[in-house]
């Protein structure tokens, strides 16, 4: 398997209504790692994620997914890149009018020629993989927040992408459910070799699952640190990084 970077970001700049959110952001994500984008509220973590999955167009810079330029790609070429990645949104974003099985089957229905029986089997497998066997016919509104997130991961894996993006997977979950979700992510990364890119500010999750991370900062409008979570915590001399890992309030 190619060991080159799955994602390469160079000089990325994001702006909203003329206001710069971050600029000069460059990093690489390697195959098979659990890469965490961390930082405080409002530093642009989710904005960065939305750039990486092609929802926002950058003000400047390049994003390469498996060697292909996402920013420059259009039409079928862009769709081809997007189908190689799966996304779990903060809210789960499951389709409320469909049950869990139909939610997971939908990407296969639209993007493959698989017969219905095969789609059903694969969808049931994916739901079992995330521990939702027996809940296939439940609507998203009938299950808990943690289950919704697991179902969203199952849907994101429907087309067997090599790359999964997770936006704040722990948000709104109790510590036990959050830890279970962390274990699921680790299990999927190890057993299926999926590369994960997570956006979070949950320290417990970061230390539990991250292979490597970058930290964004609102005032710096960019990346202030890169490395393993332990390196960032123990070796960084940047006061913003130290404050984040020591959970120190920044109130004068």
């Amino acid at each position: 398997m190619d060991s080159g970077p799955v994602i390469r970001v160079e000089g990325l700049k994001a702006a909203y209504e003329g206001k710069v959110v971050f600029q000069g952001v460059s990093f690489e994500v390697r195959r098979g790692e659990v890469f965490v984008v961390l930082g405080g509220s409002g530093c642009g973590k989710s904005t960065l994620l939305k750039h990486l999955i092609g929802l926002y167009a950058p003000a400047a810079g390049r994003i390469q997914i498996e060697g292909e330029d996402l920013v420059a790609a259009e039409g079928e070429g862009r769709r081809r890149i997007l189908r190689r990645l799966g996304v779990m949104y903060q809210s789960g974003a499951l389709f409320g009018s469909l049950d869990l099985l139909e939610n997971v089957m939908l990407p296969m229905e639209e993007c493959t020629d698989l017969p219905r029986e095969a789609r059903l089997l694969i969808a049931r497998m994916k739901l079992k993989l995330v521990g939702l066997e027996g809940f296939e016919r439940y609507r998203p509104s009938e299950i808990s927040g943690g289950m919704q997130k697991r179902a969203a991961i199952a849907r994101a894996m429907a087309l067997d992408p090599g790359l999964l993006f997770l936006d704040e997977p722990s948000a709104g979950l109790d510590p036990v459910t959050s830890a279970e979700l962390d274990q699921l992510i680790l299990r999927l990364a190890r057993s299926l070799g999926i590369t994960f890119v997570l956006v979070t500010h949950e320290l417990a999750s970061i230390f539990a699952i991250a292979s490597r991370s970058i930290m964004l900062d609102r005032e710096a409008m960019g990346v202030v640190a890169e490395g393993t979570p332990a390196e960032l915590r123990d070796r960084s001399s940047d006061p913003r990084v130290r404050r984040f890992f020591r959970r120190e309030a920044n109130i004068a």
């Binding site: 939305k50 999955i53 092609g54 929802l55 769709r79 081809r80 997007l82 189908r83 990645l85 996304v87 949104y89 903060q90 809210s91 974003a93 499951l94 389709f95 409320g96 939908l106 990407p107 639209e110 993007c111 849907r155 087309l159």
Partner: protein
């Protein structure tokens, strides 16, 4: 002034405010102020405002002047028009593509939307049609009676219902009922990031969400218009039968007053109205921003935009029909 606070065991925000205000007034007069024995937890709160007391109140945030406001509004309007033109272009393209590949439509979703926009709207559309026919016939027949011409109320009901009011009222009901529902559904999906989820799955939200609703509404509006027309004519019949005219006389009068051109002209309008209502609903849904009030705003805008577009296009139809002699 010296305040002895050594006996203070509890102090809320009002108490701290009082101490601060006393200090401020004393300092403003150049007089001394000493606070003794204040417990450490209260001292920390008091010190938040510094030794000079509460800082100056910040001025109101600059919101921009009239010119800036007008400029922003104009830019917003232009962006809205640009988005609408883009939407119309995409819709036209997708409808043409659909005509070439009908199986590419999500027919299950389209039937579901048709049931809600069409079948479920039937009672209200029928009631409105019936009442309009009834009221129109009654209001026209009363003055006409003075001239012994009350039977011509049937002509008035038939012509105005088939050519104008049938399609117009149906479309307005649909704008309020289905246009708003489309905006709310798609808007909620936008807020819940479901639309983003579709995009990142490489699926077109347009094909997935907009096309089935537009096709369903376009198919249902003429059918509902036929029902509105029929119920309007029944309403007119009720009035004239009560006034003593046999039903067959009314029927003959109606068939003599209107022809197939009137019916088809009205139904052609209904098709266009259907596109406008569904298009406005879906566009406003897709334009939904974030926040709790965004879906409500989109719904209101969808109804207003739908009704305005219906009325404008009805005016255009009147001119075109007049020019064509229909």
């Amino acid at each position: 002034m010296t305040v002895d606070a050594s006996g203070l065991s509890y102090c809320d925000g009002s108490g701290l405010g009082l101490l601060l205000e006393i200090r401020r007034r004393q300092e403003a007069r150049g007089a001394a102020f000493e606070l003794r024995g204040l417990a450490e937890q209260f001292r920390a709160l008091l010190d938040l405002f510094g030794p000079a007391g509460v800082g100056a109140m910040p001025g109101p945030r600059r919101r921009g002047g009239l010119v800036e406001g007008a400029g922003r509004a104009a830019a917003g309007l232009l962006a809205d028009v640009r988005e609408m033109v883009g939407f119309v272009g995409t819709l036209t393209f997708e409808l043409c593509r659909l005509a070439l590949r009908p199986m590419s439509l999500r027919w299950k979703d389209a039937f579901w939307a048709a049931e809600r926009a069409g079948v479920n709207a039937l009672p209200i559309v029928a009631l409105i049609g019936f009442l309009i026919g009834l009221i129109m016939a009654f209001q026209a027949a009363m003055p006409m009676r003075k001239f012994g011409a009350e039977i011509y109320a049937a002509d008035l009901v038939a012509i105005s219902t088939l050519r104008e009011l049938g399609p117009l009222m149906t479309a307005i009901v649909l704008a309020g009922r289905s246009g708003s529902a489309f905006a709310a559904e798609i808007g909620t999906m936008k807020v819940n990031e479901e639309v983003n989820a579709l995009t990142t799955m490489g699926l077109s939200p347009f094909r997935f969400l907009v096309l089935p609703r537009v096709v369903a509404t376009v198919a249902m509006t003429p059918l509902l218009t036929v029902f509105t027309n029929l119920c309007g004519l029944i309403g007119g019949a009720v009035v004239l039968v009560i006034m003593g005219f046999p039903l067959v006389t009314y029927a003959n009068q109606v068939s003599g007053a209107v022809g197939m051109a009137d019916l088809l002209g009205g139904l052609a309008k209904a098709v266009v109205f259907g596109v406008l209502v569904a298009g406005a609903g879906c566009l406003k849904g897709l334009q939904t921003k974030t926040g709790a009030s965004a879906v409500g705003e989109s719904t209101t805008r969808a109804v207003v935009a739908g009704i305005v577009l219906i009325l404008v296009s009805d005016g255009v139809f009147s001119v075109v029909y007049y020019a064509l002699g229909i």
